[in-house]
Amino acid sequence: MMHCHDIATQLKNVPKNAKKIVLAGNPNAGKSVFFNAFTGMYVDVSNFPGTTIDISYGKYKDYIVIDTPGVYGVSSFNDEEIVARDIITSADIVVNVVDAVHLDRDLFLTQQIIDMGIPIIIALNMMDEAKAQGIEIDVDKLSQLLGVPVIPTVAVKNLGIEEVKNRLEEAKVGNSDPELQSKLAELLKQVHNRAEALLILEDDPHVAKRHQMEGAKLREEIYTKRRQRVNEIIDQVVRDTKTQSNFKMKLSRWMVNPLTGVPILIGILYIIYKLIAVFVAQTVVDFTEGYIFAGLYEPFIRGIIGQWIPENSALGTILIGEFGVLTMTVTYVLGLLLPLVIGFYFALSVMEDSGYLPRVAALVDRVLMKLGLNGRAIIPLILGFGCVTMATITTRLLGSKREKFIATALLGFTIPCSAQLGIIAGLITPLGWKLFILYVGIIFIVFVLIGTLLNLFLPGESTDLLIDLPPLRLPRINNVLKKTWTKSYAFIKEAGPLFALGALLIGLLQVTGALDMLIDAVAPITTGLLKLPKESAVAFIMGIIRRDFGAAGLTSIDMTPLQTVLSLVVITLFVPCIASILVLFKERGIRDAILIWGGSWILAFGVGGIMAALLL
């Protein structure tokens, strides 16, 4: 019988009998550098069935090399672990990347893989950092105690990677607890895979079910013994030569203490604001949108197309008119959005790689508890400022359904994504700081109100914070640039076609005269309720497709400063973009998705109406 969970059968272009090298390690241990060193340029990315997790794989000699999500152990506590579990248990060789600074944490996974009986070779990474922290590790002794090869490396400086490659064949099954192994031997009569047998002993419900068995309820006992074993190894191989009181430790503490942490957070947000809203949204976009695309590209393309198709004909309007597929779409996507999105992903990557985000989670835990979330939720909320769609997926890391719903609702209702935020920043900065505060204040109040109300009325209880604070690191510029580029490229690939579709739709409505009819039909809302020019209807129609598209539509409408703020508040609270909605349906189910989508119409026009009545 073919096992449906054998990973090799699920990957494209992989011969069935190819030997599998699997890279495994805790989060931030440096696996990606090893993966790149093994596979070079030729990498495939494939979605793991039934999840939103992408796994990368490539070739090295005759082997197939598979990356796994960073995990602290193999089990099924969350999607990352399930994916890592199924890949690791099918490995022929595991290359285990271990963070030398966090040896006692990382060796738990190492020992677990050893207990599974899979041949393993260890890359003891970040040796330079360990040395700087005064940690001395007896590598030979570690290798002897574990019973497997251990190679010291500094992957980012390309030290030791070649040795790991050269000694790959030396990977072997390490030393395990004899008592555990005798229990395993017993079970192996029924389950013909040592790794899966171990997981059944450890009470993994999925694996047990796969073999029509009950979990053995021994997780507690095995984990505790494994932890003791790891602690004993650590005691024999690690020596801390100096007490750790360096600058990073202090900085780390300042970041989580509210007295210093809040100013630091505000400072960092201010720098990001300066970078994106001022430098990118104005200086860079003026050049790319104003000069390159509106100034050079659009006249050029109008000139070419205009030779065959008159600009005021129906086809001409659709292709090169005001909302033209070849004019507006290209200018918005490449001239306006791309620079902004690159700016945002750059800032996000720096925050991610530096280890700052988990500290923000600890800092804001208390505040988020009032909204029915714990500090961990700050990660999807911050990611939401990059892309709400991506952030909605990361709400999975939250502990309960209740928290997932609250976080998704906050994202869908109130968080503007990077592209939209960039356009908003561009529109609002020239109006002065008072109106900027008005905009931020209103969105913030709505954010707090929604969270508080959901926390009051949703049944159940939210989970508590338990989060690992990784060491602070200076982000590596190569890594940051690579991440920024990958994400920006994925964004453009997704946004481009949707934008074009939107432009096509608007163009069609325009040439058939339906656009004017629609604008007049919704005039009671736009001019009556919101007291905006009736052309703003176009922006909202565009906003149904993508919110940034909607915000972009506002740039060409003539409005007073207060009208601009009001229209921006409405477009921010307005429905999430099509991509977000699709993810919303998938992640939260039909009922919740409809609640959030429908609710945002009421919320956006309700808040807009109140603002109009009070301010205009």
């Binding site: 944490r105 508890m369 508590d464």
Partner: protein
């Protein structure tokens, strides 16, 4: 005594972690029952941050209120009293 009552800088031994899932998770981080940790920061009304060697973990306040600990050096006394 609970972890939430510990003052900053104190070194304590973890006695009991209530929830199965949390316990499994904590063991992986190196914070098993019996582990000796240092409380390096208490955020007012917020998480308690503990350290074991170079591993730092933030533990939400409500959770910290349910984790039973004892002082390292006073352990003998505690046991004698109970």
């Amino acid at each position: 005594m609970t972890l939430a009552q510990v003052e900053r800088g104190a070194k304590v031994k973890i006695k009991n972690i209530p929830d199965d899932f949390i316990r499994a998770q904590a063991i992986r981080f190196g914070i098993s029952e019996g582990a000796e940790v240092e409380c390096i920061e208490k955020i007012p009304g917020g998480p308690v941050i503990v350290r074991k060697r170079f591993q730092e973990i933030a533990i939400g306040r409500r959770l910290a209120e349910n984790i039973i600990v004892s002082y390292w050096n006073r352990e003998v006394e505690d046991d004698a009293l109970s």
